[in-house]
């Protein structure tokens, strides 16, 4: 009896400790409002200094869209957060295991293995999308379905791998587009460099560099995959507006975008080692309203960008095309 009582007390104490620990950790994850005493550093020429290495892989566990059952709740409950932490700890332990176990070898599936990937840590934020308030992509306008149909009609009779040109720009190592701050499987490094009149943004994935002039010069009519950018400072925030995207094959989160696509990014150093990143996607010919992503990037001087000259050994492309030819020779219908 006494022993059971002591055990119960110990269990309660442990439970309280775990719960408090979770709350502590959750509080640390809460979105920072920035310290009131923080003074944003300046470059020698007087612009706010947002330079640094800002990898986004730590956000991999936060989905772009919020699960519908969370409604307009932007943060997880302590219990939900604890579950994310538990999963992160499990993954971390599996990654660090020196010897393979049944659990790590018996569950192979046709997705990239863990050693290819950035894992990310548990976050209190429920979704990367913060607006609309339900954290979900807005409804698509009817023109999107017409666009999808037109693209399908243009491809009528073609298989997905008749030529390398049938494959995505991403697979072809051409571009991931300028939504590259959104975390992906790996190569989540980002670097910002500044010089008088320019801000340079580098993304590790697909080796992309964006050179943003700080200017109010009007946009041209020249369209490119990465679009045409204009930067300006609003207080300590860098605002980058980008438009003039090539629409061929362009898509965001699986939705083909229109030539009205306009992206507005805001970068604000909210403390010495944290950069708030905000991205507003405005494409009235695609979604019924603009939508916004926001998350805070931690500076990591130990995450230098490593060259990712993706095209040089892209055996995947020749393998994919060969696989399609073998399927044709075997008389398999094109998918």
């Amino acid at each position: 009896m006494t022993r059971r009582f002591v055990f119960s007390l110990a269990t309660i104490a442990l439970g309280v400790t775990v719960a408090l620990g979770t709350l502590d950790t959750a509080a640390q994850q809460r979105r920072s409002t920035g310290a009131a005493s923080f003074v944003a550093p300046k470059t020698p020429w007087g612009d706010p200094d947002i330079q640094g290495l800002w990898p986004s892989g730590d956000w991999r566990r936060v989905p772009l869209q919020r699960p519908e059952n969370l409604g307009t709740r932007s943060e997880l409950t302590p219990e939900e957060f604890e579950e994310r932490e538990r999963q992160a700890a499990t993954d971390s332990a599996a990654d660090a295991a020196e010897f393979a176990t049944e659990a790590t070898t018996a569950t192979i599936n046709n997705s990239p293995p863990s050693y290819w990937q950035d894992r990310g840590s548990a976050k209190l934020q429920a979704s990367l999308i913060v607006d609309p308030p339900n954290g979900r992509l807005p409804a698509r306008v009817p023109q999107v379905e017409q666009r999808v149909a037109a693209r399908a009609a243009a491809r009528q009779g073609r298989g997905p791998s008749d030529s390398w040109e049938d494959r995505s720009l991403y697979e072809r190592c051409i571009t991931r587009g300028i939504t590259s701050f959104l975390p992906t499987l790996y190569n989540n490094g980002n670097e910002i460099l500044q010089s008088p009149g320019y801000v340079v943004i580098r993304h590790e994935m697909i080796n992309e560099t964006r050179i943003v002039p700080i200017t109010d010069r009007p946009f041209s009519t020249i369209k490119t995959y990465m679009g045409e950018a204009r930067g300006r400072w609003e207080g300590n925030t860098l605002v980058v507006e980008t438009t003039n995207f090539l629409t061929d094959k362009a898509a965001i989160s699986g939705t083909p975008t229109s030539d009205k696509l306009r992206l507005i990014e805001r970068f604000t150093r909210i403390d010495a080692h944290t950069l708030r990143y905000e991205l507003t996607v405005d494409d009235r010919d695609t979604w019924v309203q603009p939508w916004k992503v926001s998350f805070d990037l931690g500076e990591d001087p130990n995450y230098p960008l490593i060259e990712y000259a993706c095209h040089e050994g892209n055996y995947a492309m020749s393998n994919i095309l060969r696989a399609a030819r073998v399927a044709e020779a075997a008389g398999q219908p094109k998918p």
């Binding site: 192979i108 290819w116 494959r167 790996y186 490094g189 050994g313 055996y315 995947a316």
Partner: protein, 132 residues
Amino acid sequence: MKTTTNLFAAALMAAFALPSLAHHSFSAEFDESKPITLKGKVTKMEWINPHSWIHIDVVGDDGKTVPWMIEAGTPNTMVRRGFTRESLQTGAEIVVQGYLSKDGANRANGFSITFTDGRRLFVGGSAPGTPN
């Protein structure tokens, strides 16, 4: 020492495939219905983008040596996990679990790669010669 070879394609696999999120499509390149286990000796490691490739020699049941290519992760991630050019030496024996390429060539995706004693590859600090 004669390399023991174990080459088979399992008939069963998980009934679902997660969405392909890598920069290229797994399902267009590898056959999810053909999981494969290979045991062989490393002949070369290609540290190339977008993915590394490990070349191994596999001795078949008929005693013939067959070269295979195994797709591994991006060099960037592997380096960050402590994997270096010293980690996988020519001649090392490894066991690969993965998926056969769709064109039927001797290529596979390396989902799980271990040394023959069960130590895992690509885990920071565990591969021989890598810093902890």
